[in-house]
Symmetry: C2
Subunit: 471 residues, 2 copies
């Protein structure tokens, strides 16, 4: 997964096939999005934006690169995936790896004590791209975070509710929101006898459970990370567990976890979180999963991850996997403050590239096709020499706010013009010929019915607005 | 202008003051945009997007970085301002310098013969930042381009119309759209005796006329670029000229320009362009300016630049300058095609950062303040112990699509809650206390009038929607 050698991806191979020759392509792990892809993306963005606004979030925007030291020490083993900029005689810069660390930097730098913000932007990871599964080196994240010293689990519950709302509105089939708590995991590691310095590496191994079988994870713990085999087996007993409130209650009384203050604190949080989710109407999708770990170093409390569970979301290369994730990170802002003054935070990030892919598949299956443009009127000429007249009509309709196009040819063929309107699902054609110009009238044609009405030029705007309104 | 040494900008100085210490800042020449700035930016974006859609443009998106060789040889003297990524064992990459070259690469790579697209995204230039004048190293461009083999000046005129529409709708005061033609400039250089290999360097010198007096530009031509002094003086005579159609007619009969086929072709284009602008209703703002040159190498035909001329748009450090620019570039796509097959293009780019700054100044002057959130209802508790009830009401209102917030404290003070709603211009407060919960009712309070209505819980959604509808 984290192999950064030149890979066997299509981009890489094409590049290697013709050494010395300039191959026209985008950078490895990146792609263009054209008129076919963009409308779906806009649609998904709009849904997510509307939910962000539902929660009263403000928007912020940070630079695409940060000082390298801002990112240092925040991503554990994944730090090697950060893109660095060349030293061109200035500061050492890196492309952002996520939107969370820049957010924490922003909060600390501006001495903000509380904010609820969203940020939709692309992030950069020198990961091994898996284009067919929608995994790229440049991809969008849609982040929502709540910073501030607040009462337990209230912002955390809102995050789960928000994930629930977005996935419901996108209507992508059934989903589960897995939750866990770093304190429960740390408590578990403690009672299993894991040395403190191995907490994060072992946590990072547990994180791979969603992709790898336990045997492999155990191997990583023991062989790579030097954990005692028996300790690993004990951890294995717990990280298999998943359930609802009753599992939380059971673990509160577990012989080992009883001895961990951390684990008990985490389990209490879970109980309260479940109650709040019930109030907010989203608890049915929430599953407590002891095997959920999340790779990043900065989480300190509740962590969560949403996965689509419906059958149609199994891609060619396996399930689509996580479509949203996040958690509480109470110490990250403090890492940027000179006096280590911290601001507790909780937030989440949508894996929106996966959501795009699934939404595209869904629309393809339904035979839906979103329009790439919003044009309402096409101005067509029935004969030669109409170019000046066509432009005047465009000017008139634009002035009235009506979305209007015409051909860029002096004398386009009438059939081509009508075909263009049909192909692009433009509802109306305004048609002029010599006789219309002389009489000061135009024909308004409805593309689907082919009904034509002749109207005076001064009535054109009213007629068009009427016809568009009744569609 | 193009000095890339560590500058005396604030960011740079702060960094230098404390060597070895980690200074919390954004990278030089970049900044964050917070809840105060973003609403203005959204507003400006929305206006521009709506005009793009008026013209039936589709949207595309390309990666933030390109293979370095894609950018090579496209920007003339400005190439040194390109940001390179560090070689981390893969391809040589650079951050995009504009959206035009990636667009041309996209057109060539996908063998597109015609497209009208817009693209709104940030670009990167290692220029000397002038933050007070709104010039940054990372900034947005809003591009609109028309690619395709079409009849003369039709797409070009649409570009001017579009600039006219955007600037009119933004209502930023009076403006001028300067136009010129690369063939007229090249024709001029030719008849003045400039050697062919000096055309682009001399053009780049002329480009500085909007910021520097003629004497300095002449100096660059003669001292730096080795042009004969008399040739420079002759060029100087022409590049001072600006006017409307009558200047075009005059130049068609100019003794020297008569001898240049290029100049005559350019002047004919100008005449047709003016006619089309007249049809489209935007010719009053269009001024033919022989001193307009545009720095980039890739232009081949009509070039244009819009400047705000109203007095209030003079910043502390001089006039705001160009807010949009573009032109025709018929050979750029061909540079990417293995068979040199070209697709003629014309387009424009809005200097949207400047538009933001001006819009902010305008709103400040008018005392307007855009809301940072869209929240419609704040759920407040009149007494302690209401947290579960508040969450239930949030769940109810969200379910109905009503934008709702509440406090993250278990027992917030009533005055603080009402104050929050007022400060954030939230129109309605839903108020609950013990007696309301017992009776199954809630109070709906209008924040501005302080009117309160008591309604049954099952009627809450209807009441809220009614009250929001009548605002």
């Amino acid at each position: 997964n984290h192999n950064n050698n030149p890979s066997k991806s299509k981009g890489g191979e094409r590049g290697k096939d013709k050494p010395g020759k300039f191959v026209l392509k985008t950078a490895k792990g990146t792609r263009d999005y054209g008129p076919v892809e963009m409308p779906v993306r806009r649609q998904v963005f709009d849904v997510i934006h509307s939910v962000f606004h539902m929660h009263g979030a403000v928007e912020i925007e940070t630079p695409v690169f940060e000082l390298k030291e801002v990112l240092t020490g925040k991503y554990g083993e994944d730090s090697k995936l950060i893109y660095d900029l060349e030293d061109q005689g200035g500061e050492k810069l890196s492309l952002r790896y996520d939107l969370t660390v820049p957010f924490a930097r922003y909060v600390a730098m501006n001495k903000i004590t509380n904010i609820k913000r969203y940020h939709v932007a692309r992030v950069y990871r020198r990961d091994n791209p898996a284009m067919t599964r929608g995994r790229y080196r440049e991809f969008y994240q849609c982040d929502f975070d709540i910073a501030g010293q607040y009462d337990a689990m209230l912002p955390d519950a809102e995050c789960l509710q928000l994930v629930h709302q977005v996935l419901s509105r996108l209507d992508l089939g059934d989903f589960t929101i897995k939750i866990n708590h770093r304190k429960i995991l740390d408590g578990l590691f403690g009672v299993c006898g894991v040395p403190l310095e191995k907490f994060r590496p072992i946590c990072s191994a547990v994180d791979k459970l969603d992709k790898s079988p336990w045997e492999e994870v155990r191997k990583e713990m023991v062989d790579e990370k030097g954990l005692d085999g028996e300790m690993a087996d004990l951890i294995g007993e717990y990280v298999k567990l998943s359930g609802k409130e009753e599992l939380i209650e059971k673990l509160k009384n577990d012989e080992r976890l009883k001895n961990s203050k951390d684990a008990q604190a985490g389990l209490s949080d879970m109980t309260l979180l479940y109650q709040y989710c019930q109030n907010l109407g989203c608890e049915s999708k929430v599953v407590f999963d002891m095997g959920l770990a999340r790779g990043l170093d900065y989480y300190t409390g509740v962590i969560y991850e949403a996965v689509l569970t419906a059958g149609q979301n199994q891609g060619k290369d396996g399930p689509v996997g996580s479509v949203a994730g996040g958690g509480r990170y109470d110490n990250l802002v403090g890492m940027f403050d000179p006096k280590k003054k911290t601001v507790p935070c909780v937030g989440l990030s949508f894996g929106i590239e996966r959501l795009f892919t699934i939404q595209e598949q869904k629309q393809r299956a339904l035979g839906e096709k979103l329009r790439a443009t919003q044009t309402e009127v096409f101005v067509a000429a029935a004969c030669k020499g109409m170019v000046h007249e066509r432009l005047k009509i465009i000017g008139l309709l634009h002035e009235a706010g009506i979305k209007t196009e015409s051909s860029y040819k002096n004398n386009p063929k009438i059939l081509n013009q009508l075909q263009y309107a049909e192909d692009n699902q433009i509802p109306l054609v305004v048609l002029i010929g010599e006789s219309e110009v002389e009489a000061g009238v135009v024909k308004v044609r409805e593309v689907t019915t082919r009904d034509e009405t002749t109207v005076k030029r001064e009535d054109l705007v009213t007629t068009v607005k009427q016809k568009l309104g009744t569609k």
